[in-house]
Symmetry: C2
Amino acid sequence: MSRWEPDARGRLERAALELYLERGFERTSVAEIAERAGLTERTFFRHYTDKREVLFAGSSALQELLVDTVARAPGPATPMEAVAAALQAAAAVLQERREHARRRHAVITANAELQERELIKLAALAAGLADALRQRGVDDASASLAAEAGIAVFKVAFRRWTEQAGEKDLSEFIGESFAGLKAVTAGT
Amino acid sequence: MSRWEPDARGRLERAALELYLERGFERTSVAEIAERAGLTERTFFRHYTDKREVLFAGSSALQELLVDTVARAPGPATPMEAVAAALQAAAAVLQERREHARRRHAVITANAELQERELIKLAALAAGLADALRQRGVDDASASLAAEAGIAVFKVAFRRWTEQAGEKDLSEFIGESFAGLKAVTAGT
DNA sequence: TACCCGATGACAGTCACTGACATCAGCTGC
DNA sequence: GCAGCTGATGTCAGTGACTGTCATCGGGTA
């Protein structure tokens, strides 16, 4: 048997989410998270750069999924089609873990600092999408615009998904939002 | 004559921008800003909620300008036309103070925490735009999408404006970006 | 003249985050 | 099977952002 309990990161992430739900982000100290995970505060900061980051561990995997999906989109796909495919792929992942996604999102919407972190993660996703589009030969400005517009669609769709009373899939909200964006930009 | 030097906020804002430019955001302490402004650290925090906020004092004025411009757009204007008018109004203000805008932006792009704050301010602008559109009778989803898309256009245009070698006006970049968005969303 | 108010200062405290050094189970080379 | 290295963790002493509380006092007000 090994010297320490396994999966320190997993324990920290679960402890953090639990505590943020129980008492709120601000009223939870890093020492408390570490204690619940059976570790020390110092070790927390070896795994996560700050108190917020522990909620965003999965975002790099999402980023890879988006970028890969754009890269693998069929050759003739337009930039927005490639972005749409990427967002649908991401939606499928989130739909699978919808309870976790909603709990996490509830914590984030309750705290401005966490919203800031979420926004910069979304900006990073946009930058990754834009890069992937450029790799496909899309010109610089169009790549940025398609990526930013795609993230805008995602933000709106995700919010509607979490606020709905029913159980409609995230992918449907994304489809509707893309259609809505098309309609609204047509009238300029 | 009054008991204290006037314009404490202005002195703090100028001192902060200077120091952030001279030594970087992270390597500047609030005590140093306050000292250069002839005040104490405690007083700094009476004027600004945190060390970042001192760079964003003007954002509420920008928000009011955007919201007012949408509210006053001609009745038959489409949502995107109203948003475009608002962004052009904001662009004119930034163009006027372009040296200040660029210095400030240089500080922000050099630091992730400041970028986070900028993003949440932009998100607030989007929320304000969306509200103003709803007041005009635009349906909920379209209002959010037009607002978010408008902010996406603004982000791209602003970045191109600051990165350009020449002296082209921000309003031109915004016009081009709106056209680019229209082109890119048409191909879905 | 007495009083209040609002902007500031003084000071102590909490907590996020960092740097430096210590510990020690398990693997590696011999 | 032993010496030594490694990597994840612990310990401890900071620094600096931010907060609560009380004191100060020039200027306006009754």
